[in-house]
Symmetry: C2
Subunit: 237 residues, 2 copies
DNA sequence: ACTGGACGACCGGTATACCAGTTGCAAGTG
DNA sequence: CACTTGCAACTGGTATACCGGTCGTCCAGT
């Protein structure tokens, strides 16, 4: 009831994120504050604040009097982003294993187990979404607000590093699903060490997978106008 | 030559940080954009952007139509902030131990060893500053840009959690100094496991120390006008 | 004396205008 | 034709003005 009013800045942020991850901008085309404001039919200030936040999150680089550009992620950086993620989400898994399991996390687990039992009944996108939710709920289940905020600050870097996903093959989605369930089992079994280890392994496999897909990163998109297909959903793995 | 021009926003940021950590504001007095702009003799926009950054960094909380306030850190949060810090700086120590030692880090080590040999010749503040530099250089020495950025994003939370320091007793400073040297030795010995372990222990001890000093957090400062004694230096432990 | 409602000071959010720096192209010059 | 030069069209950075919302205060009515 109290908060949750959406400011112009938030709308601008979501739409710009959708544009960036929709592939509208390559590393050379500037995200002009004025042009974005005009395209999104809002003032310059909310757009500016959204871009400033994206700069803080490492998604975008501002060169004064030059323009604002999407940052490119080198393969080395990619590996290092994943190490940071291992540290943070590994800690989250460890902490979550040390306290009673959240109801929401348990519900997500139930859904994942149903999916695992009859995988052919679900699309890769559905399984992927469940995985994203799993990561988010596990973070909440850690019970550490500072940790959650750290991950939130760093999350866009994960997305930027991954970037080209969204065509998870069914097979890959199932493997990922199995790993998620394995992590959850360690959490439910109150085994912090195993929970951390399985999370780290899971992420390491994700990095490996991502490195194999090292193609099509520099594709030149069609400079579409607006509404990306991406509805603003997070994708965390 | 290229970057490093200081914008109004950066000057505003530094001065506001000095004000906050100088104790000018308690949790109830708002940091008004207009009043700050007038007090710092600059426009509202740079002040606003500085406050926005401080909000991202978790130092400040914005309540629309109410005001902007310094966030208070609960003791539980404090422990969790330190766990995140252990994860990040522990990783930094581990990575730094896996690569050739930086020249700057070695120089800092030399200085710290001189201090350790004849501690009575140095003030606690000098030793503390060397420790801060050690943490920063170790982060650089990790060679991971993403890790450095994660820490940079989270650093103000460390400071906010610690907050009341700056009167390190000589004895405590020496103990901390010894721990820093121990970490450095593990790094120089190319022992990632020991480096991480010693860093984690070091931070755990820092948390313990901080929890003992759980006094005077809610003091009501004298609402001074401007220039804090704090010159804008970071303090990392 | 107490209570309720209106007014005014203050808040952050947003829009608009102007500034200085950068860049690329085009016109002028050898 | 190659090169210089300067203008014009951008960029982000900053200032100022205005908006709706919040809250304390003060006065009117009880």
């Amino acid at each position: 009831m109290s908060a949750s009013f959406e400011f112009e800045r938030d709308r601008a942020y979501n739409r710009i994120v959708a544009l960036i991850f929709g592939g509208t901008y390559d590393a050379a085309t500037p995200l002009s504050e004025r042009k974005l404001a005009q395209a999104l039919d809002m003032g310059r200030m909310p757009v500016r604040e959204a871009l400033r936040q994206l700069e803080q999150e490492g998604v975008v680089e501002v060169r004064p009097a030059r323009g604002t550009f999407v940052r490119s992620v080198s393969p080395e950086d990619l590996a290092e982003v994943y190490r940071v993620r291992e540290a943070l989400e590994g800690l989250a898994a460890e902490l979550a294993a040390g306290r009673p399991t959240t109801g929401a996390l348990a519900a997500c687990g139930t859904r994942m187990r149903i999916m695992a039992r009859d995988a052919s009944a679900f699309t890769a996108a559905e399984i992927d979404d469940a995985g994203t939710e799993f990561h988010n709920l596990l973070m909440e289940a850690s019970g550490s607000v500072p940790l959650s905020e750290a991950v939130r600050l760093f999350r866009m870097r994960f997305r930027l590093a991954f970037h080209l996903p969204r065509y998870f093959a069914q097979e890959i989605a199932q493997e990922t699903l199995a790993e998620h369930i394995a992590i959850l089992e360690a959490v439910e079994a109150r085994d912090p060490v195993a929970a951390r280890a399985r999370m780290v392994d899971h992420l390491a496999r994700g990095l490996e997978l991502r490195l194999k897909l090292e193609t099509g990163v520099g594709r030149k998109p069609a400079k579409g106008t607006d509404t990306s297909s991406n509805s603003g959903m997070e994708k965390t793995q």
